[in-house]
């Protein structure tokens, strides 16, 4: 079955992204196809490569990046939400004249249409939030 996931909260503050990660992993293990993971609201904060969690804690950002690399996951940060919250890739850096970018490997920034498309193309959309 084709599944999409929506994540509405950032790393560490809320369990939403942990639950989404564990769910996504279990879905892949069960043989399902993940059409897309869409990060909305504060969820875009999951896509920063600047995190350095304590050594005895999980690295939420790296975990998503690695899952993406292993299974070719499409990890999309909503552009409008990302602009408000300071998530920047190379394109956004240029467009908004920033002096750098902070997006982590495996993530890309795109429009809200990607969420609607995920709703249309997937058999199920599961939302994780606050």
């Amino acid at each position: 079955m084709k599944l999409s996931i929506q994540v509405n909260e950032g790393p560490y503050q809320h369990q939403a992204t942990d639950s989404a990660y564990n769910f996504t992993k279990a879905a892949i293990e069960a043989g399902h196809e993940i059409f897309r993971v869409f990060f909305y609201h504060d969820g875009v904060n999951n896509g920063t490569r600047y995190t350095t969690p304590p050594q005895d804690d999980r690295n939420i950002v790296d975990r998503w990046s690695e899952l993406s690399a292993e299974h070719d996951l499409d990890l999309v940060l909503c552009v409008a939400a990302a602009q408000r919250r300071g998530l920047v890739d190379e394109g956004e850096q240029e467009r908004n004249k920033k002096d750098g970018n902070n997006i982590a490997p495996g993530f890309r920034i795109s429009g809200l249409g990607q969420l609607i498309e995920a709703g249309i193309q997937s058999d199920r959309l599961v939302v994780f939030g606050d």
């Binding site: 929506q6 909305y40 609201h41 409008a80 939400a81 429009g111 809200l112 249409g113 969420l115 609607i116 498309e117 709703g119 249309i120 193309q121 959309l125 939302v127 939030g129």
Partner: protein, 135 residues
């Protein structure tokens, strides 16, 4: 993409205290271009999103409530407000914006977009959807 699905946006939070109401509206507006069968539900504190007379000057935030009256132009005219949520908050339909749409099949007659429904009716409506996005 020729699939047409029934999308329901469930709005459960008050405006301004959090951004969910506004970022939900942004999805609805973008989503309108995809020509899906769209409906909006306002329950719990979400009913305050439609309240008349919002004035945000004092908190320095943008008043986005006028945007709801544009929904009719986007062919979004199924707006369900839960009766029980209104009652718990001492509100009536009179306290909400009057949202309308123009029916091209009836010579552009102006019709009400908001329907007040009971919890039971809304539960049934939810069951008929294909995709439910909750904010």
């Amino acid at each position: 993409m020729s699939v047409t699905k029934k999308f329901l946006y469930v709005n459960r939070r008050a405006p301004y205290g959090t951004i969910y109401a506004w970022e939900s509206l942004e999805v609805v507006l973008i989503g309108a271009a995809f020509e899906q069968d769209v409906a909006l539900a306002f329950v719990d504190d979400g009913v305050y999103q439609l309240a008349k007379g919002q004035d945000t000057k004092g908190i320095g935030m943008k008043n986005f409530s006028p945007t709801y009256s544009a929904l009719g132009d986007y062919d979004i005219n199924k707006i369900y407000v839960e009766k029980e949520s209104l009652e718990a908050r001492g509100l009536t339909l009179e306290d909400l914006q009057h949202l309308v749409w123009e029916d091209e099949d009836e010579d552009w007659a102006e019709k009400d977009s908001i329907q007040v429904v009971t919890s039971a009716e809304l539960a049934d409506l939810m069951e008929q959807q294909d995709v439910v996005l909750s904010f």
